[in-house]
Symmetry: C2
């Protein structure tokens, strides 16, 4: 039985990357060591981390005035670090189009009880279970505000923001965890981009941060580990980095480059996701909870059958047939097919066949 | 040429662990997935993280009223989290016997500028470059203080604290990063123990925290990610954990158990380190900077030759002969042999042979 991993993260990795990592698992580059054992101050690891950064810069066309760092703690730790470093006592706006964006806002509110600044909900579609993206009037944004935080892809709800909104000149910070390298964004539209690796980059345990140098705060934060300035000045080596996760990320970046880069990846993703969207659209059994076609995510595709009971039956039978982790997030139910970069096209075709059969049997 | 990895961390891992991980790299337990790709909410990963905890509990005889969590950010993030969660506006004492203990104290002082509490240097031997451990008069400890923080093994300076000092009833928090599982400690002597994995546990990217449940603070911290109560309540899954590092840690815990547990490991380590200490002691060419024999670390063994020039020559020639990462930390110079649990006895014998030859050639 072929296994397809539809997990929303940690998620499927390119087979060729895993095979390469397996082949050099015990002895990296003739060093006589596994990357797992390697000093982060060694020449070999220096080549790995610098190589990872160089390829990522190339893939995303990151300008020289942006710094790239590899951190720990996932996007969730960024939710606290961002206001801690960048709010500077000012207003900080949050555009909330999904559960993760709400978490980012909630953490800002929590932090504001201790560190003075003003987190503001710029827009939210929580009342409609995030079935579409929130809108706002740019005139409502104080031009002196610290930043506007947004999420480019809502992993749980399956919407994506492909065009960066006009924020009245206020710097934009984006959580790109679930569609970084899957769709083209112009880095210069953002003051900072961050992404947990475990979707389109690599294994869990590393978070990529891309930040414009003049946006960094020179005032020390309350913890060195939570201070972007210190992390940048130490080139991700203020303390021991998550070395193996960075190594796999480097291999994934090289794989994306081999495929043809981000534009080619996006083309492939749109075609791949399109197969499933087209099937759902023509079906009167399956439906997508996303209201606006232009806001559909190419990475995470939630869908439901006519009832919660049938959803449960679908998830169970799909699991048994090798379609793993297709159950929707516990907060929304239904199903979700996460079709990240490394997810094979054939898996989508096979899923559609399975969905057809299930529909015929349960209609 | 045989390669021996003397790195202070990330460090050598047991060969059998690496071979097992390599064998199941592409398909863990018939799941059709690599552990690198596995959802942290999956049954397979649940077995991994629970298995890791169970074996660690057995190895360290961790009582039921202690919680075990796996976190990110290394010991360095703990340096901020500890006062943030446990200082509670009170006095917090720091016993500083090495560079890492000083970092912990420095981070507490930094945090105290924002969060009110009183970090106090209980003792420090910085003036003698940490050549021995600091002492203190327990009568100087305010019994109402929040905690006493100490480091059980000083990775850079090569000293270790094998007996927990009397702290006048104030809870003890220990950074055990470089000798956890290498020497026996009684968990009940501590309110909290923490350790970055990359020495005796596994790869970089995961930090083990063992904390007595009644010591946890129920007042929310300023960040959910930095709140031990939240991490404990979510059993290390508040957000995506560093799954692969936890998996390798589990294999290492099983390996320590196979060897015979921590007591056996300590016996092996003492014999292994003893070979090198005995050789240094009888030599009038090499010397140890550690002044008191009882304070010698079994994990990190620094030594120097008669001059800095010869040290540089030694490090260079040793590196070329396959004795990797034996150069001392940049802050102290000289050499350092880190003989963690997984470091083979033969490597010590071969190093001694190399040292003899170098001595004969350069005396």
């Amino acid at each position: 039985m072929t296994i397809y991993n539809f997990s929303a993260g940690p998620a499927v990795l390119p087979k060729s990357v895993l095979e390469k990592a397996q082949a050099e698992f015990l002895d990296y580059n003739g060093s006589g060591m596994s990357v797992l054992e390697m000093s982060h101050r060694s020449k070999d690891f220096d080549d790995i981390i610098k190589g990872a950064e160089a390829t990522l810069r190339e893939l995303m066309a990151i300008p020289d005035n942006y710094k790239v760092i590899f951190m720990q703690g996932g996007a969730s730790l960024q939710f606290s670090m961002i206001p801690l470093n960048f709010a500077k006592g000012k207003k900080a706006y949050y555009l909330v189009g999904g559960s993760w964006g709400k978490k980012a806002y909630t953490e800002a509110v929590k932090l504001a009880k201790t560190i003075p600044f003003e987190p503001i909900l710029l827009g939210s579609t929580e009342d409609i279970v995030y079935a579409e993206l929130p809108t706002f009037d740019k005139a409502d944004i104080d031009t002196d505000a610290a930043y506007v935080h947004l999420t480019t892809n809502n992993t749980i709800e399956g919407t994506a923001l492909y065009t960066v909104p006009d924020t009245n000149g206020v710097p934009v910070i984006a959580d790109m965890s679930s569609n970084i390298l899957a769709a083209r964004y112009n880095v210069e539209d953002f003051a900072m981009i961050y992404a947990g690796a475990q979707k389109n980059i690599g294994p869990a345990g590393v978070t990529v941060v891309i930040v414009r140098e003049d946006f960094l705060n020179d005032e020390p934060a309350l913890s060195s580990m939570l201070d972007y300035r210190i992390q940048v000045d130490n080139e991700s080596l203020y303390n021991t980095p998550p070395a193996y996760s960075i190594y796999i990320s480097k291999l994934v970046f090289e794989w994306v480059k081999e495929i043809g880069g981000v534009d080619e990846m996006e083309k492939i993703n749109r075609e791949k996701a399109g197969l499933l969207y087209d099937f759902i659209d023509q079906s009167d059994f399956y439906t997508s909870p996303v209201r606006i076609a232009e806001q559909r995510s190419v990475a995470n595709i939630p869908f439901v059958s006519p009832s919660a009971d049938l959803d449960a039956k679908f998830a169970k039978e799909a699991e048994a047939a090798g379609f793993k982790n297709i159950k929707g997030h516990r907060s929304v139910g239904g199903m979700r097919a996460s079709l990240y970069n490394a997810f094979p096209r054939q898996g989508v075709l096979d899923l559609i066949d399975f969905m057809k059969t299930f529909e015929a049997e349960n209609k």
